[in-house]
């Protein structure tokens, strides 16, 4: 793959501007119960049915932390190559909103559970390291529903108190493409770890996007704006493009950028100011008196580290070495744990190179077409391996393989059975083929003469005739060889 150069700048009238982006990703922790209460975290329950008196902030209720959520945060931190803090503190972040019954969110401010780490991105212009500033645990808020009643807002507290990991990046991202790669990488790491399902439709992964711009080559950062709670990669990219262009226009017109919180309106495709400035960020954090500091034994951290699965970066290296894939193929095949598992099962029983090509071509196209995840593939890894084996051994041609593939998708049958029952085996017996070709040549004497007189284009015609007569089953390579030999004679 040829290396491109990074080229994402906003062109103003007075020069090129670089876009600086930092993300605060909110990832829902995979756990059965909430961070500080025993209510279920299951998505899609009836409203307010997964709410305890703690989640609804009844007086006198005390939070008790879920040990699994702590472990999940540590696992994620380890997956981000980050420093795990043996000592961390829960603070109250104070603000009033209808879906926050406590009047504060329990979060971590000065002493987060996870410190600095890093994530590697594979960009067309090379690999890029994105710094992680911190990861902390906090409670999710409830959900406000504005469109069920013209004059009232309905509040559902099912989400209230579910554990979130807020993962804060350093301002190292420089384009919407890098944001896309970063979110996908984070998601992939957390799915490998089993710490977050990464389901953006269900809100398990959302982000606040910090955007600023500066003249190309400037060392200082510009004033940033924070775009709150964007819940899809596409919207993040659109919001960044809009916001960067807005800031450049302000600068070029000699105006100041206000540091503020903005909202991305997905219908109008624009960002707009969200809260008045004087009240923003006045959260009056203080240590939660209901919760003691969280102290982690080094042994717990070490044990968790030992039990981590193989993560995408490591697996990619191994795939390149073990299966002789190129970097691009390895990247695609490790992007989801399920994809890499499928590939390994296929590669184990068939040809590793051919398996990669067919998976990334026909299999992915079919899954994409049907809107299916690989875990729901109508073709099992075992059957897919059989198909690859049949292609590799020359039992069937690539063309016939595509037909077998189609039938496998429809029927879910074993390819061996399909090939047998439909008589799709490739004709690879040289004697048989030679007989067939001789027959064709003797029927088309005029064309043979023309060919010999120099009209070499006719070669394709002969191949076509062989395929027609054999029902597409003639081994193409062998056909070519024999045809050439016989036409020479």
């Amino acid at each position: 793959m040829s290396k491109e150069k990074f080229d994402y700048f906003i062109k103003g009238e007075k020069g090129k501007y670089e876009v600086v982006i930092g993300l605060e990703v909110h990832a829902q922790v995979l756990s059965k119960s909430k961070l500080f209460s025993g209510s279920s975290t299951k998505f899609g329950a009836d409203p307010n049915n997964q709410v305890s008196l703690i989640d609804s902030a009844f007086p006198g209720m005390l939070p008790v932390i879920n040990e699994e959520c702590v472990k999940q945060a540590v696992r994620t931190g380890l997956g981000l190559n980050a420093k795990i803090n043996n000592y961390s503190v829960f603070d109250r972040k104070n603000y009033f909103y209808a879906d926050l019954p406590q009047g504060y969110q329990i979060s971590q401010y000065k002493n987060p559970i996870v410190g600095e780490g890093k994530v590697l991105l594979d960009m067309p212009y090379g690999s890029k390291e994105i710094g992680i500033e911190r990861l902390h645990l906090e409670q999710d808020a409830g959900k406000s529903i504005h469109d069920m009643d013209p004059s009232n807002t309905y509040v559902d507290l099912n989400r209230s108190g579910i554990a979130l990991m807020e993962i804060v990046s350093k301002p190292d991202l420089r384009s919407p493409d890098e944001v896309n790669a970063y979110i996908k990488k984070l998601r992939s790491i957390m799915r490998y770890l089993g710490t977050c399902d990464g389901n953006m439709q269900e809100g398990s992964l959302r982000a606040d996007v910090n955007v600023s711009v500066r003249k190309e080559g400037d060392k200082n950062f510009g004033t940033r704006c924070e775009i709150k709670n964007v819940n899809s990669i596409k919207f993040m990219q659109m919001a960044i493009e809009y916001e960067a262009a807005r800031q450049v226009e302000l600068i070029e017109n000699g105006k100041e950028i206000d540091q503020e919180t903005r909202l991305f309106d997905t219908k109008k495709n624009e960002t707009r100011s969200m809260r008045s400035k004087e009240d923003a960020h006045d959260y009056r954090y203080f240590p939660d008196p209901d919760l003691l500091p969280l102290k982690l034994e080094q042994k717990l951290i070490d044990d968790l580290k030992k039990s981590l699965p193989e993560l995408p970066d490591k697996k990619k290296e191994r795939f390149i070495k073990e299966y002789e894939l190129n970097a691009y193929e390895a990247n695609v095949l490790v992007s989801e744990k399920e994809i890499s598992d499928y590939y390994e099962e296929v590669a184990k029983f068939s040809d590793k190179k051919l398996a990669a090509t067919w998976m990334m071509g026909d299999l992915f196209a079919m899954l994409n077409d049907k809107g299916l995840d690989i875990s729901k593939s109508p073709i099992s890894a075992k059957h897919f391996a059989e198909l690859i084996k049949s292609i590799k051994s020359g039992e069937i041609s690539g063309r016939i393989a595509k037909e077998v593939f189609e039938i496998m998708v429809e029927s879910g049958d074993n390819p061996k059975k399909i090939i047998e029952s439909k008589g799709m085996k490739q004709q690879s017996d040289p004697k048989e083929l030679e007989k067939m070709i001789n027959e064709i040549l003797s029927k088309n004497k005029d064309k043979v003469d023309q060919y010999k007189a120099g009209k070499e284009k006719l070669f394709g015609f002969f191949v076509g005739q062989v395929m027609k007569l054999s029902g597409g089953k003639a081994n193409p390579q062998l056909t070519n060889e024999i045809l050439k030999k016989l036409l020479k004679g």
Partner: protein, 95 residues
């Protein structure tokens, strides 16, 4: 530290406490004298002292990840000023 009337109003607003303008003056005086009393502590040098957030030298108690609560919607909604048997109902809040 000293508080002026604007700061008092701001803090009251953040805490959603309604304060009459007439009361702001006396509140400012009261709070300032309280602060002055507390500020005597500033005479001590605490440069190398970690802030004390708890007097208990214990670590956080934790629980297993099990579902042991919820499914008490009626109880949860019971004390709310307004509900519709499914949701809390509040005046429209849209940004």
């Amino acid at each position: 530290m000293s508080l002026d009337k604007e700061k008092i109003k701001h803090v009251a607003k953040l805490a959603r406490i309604s304060v009459d303008d007439a009361k702001v003056e006396s509140l400012t005086k009261d709070l300032n004298s309280i602060f002055k009393f507390i500020e005597q502590l500033n005479e001590l040098n605490t440069d190398k002292v970690e802030p004390l957030t708890s007097i208990l030298n214990q670590s956080l108690r934790s629980r297993k990840d099990e579902i042991s609560d919820g499914k008490i919607r009626e109880k949860v909604l019971k004390n709310s000023p307004k509900e519709n048997e499914e949701f809390f109902v509040v005046p429209k809040v849209v940004e």
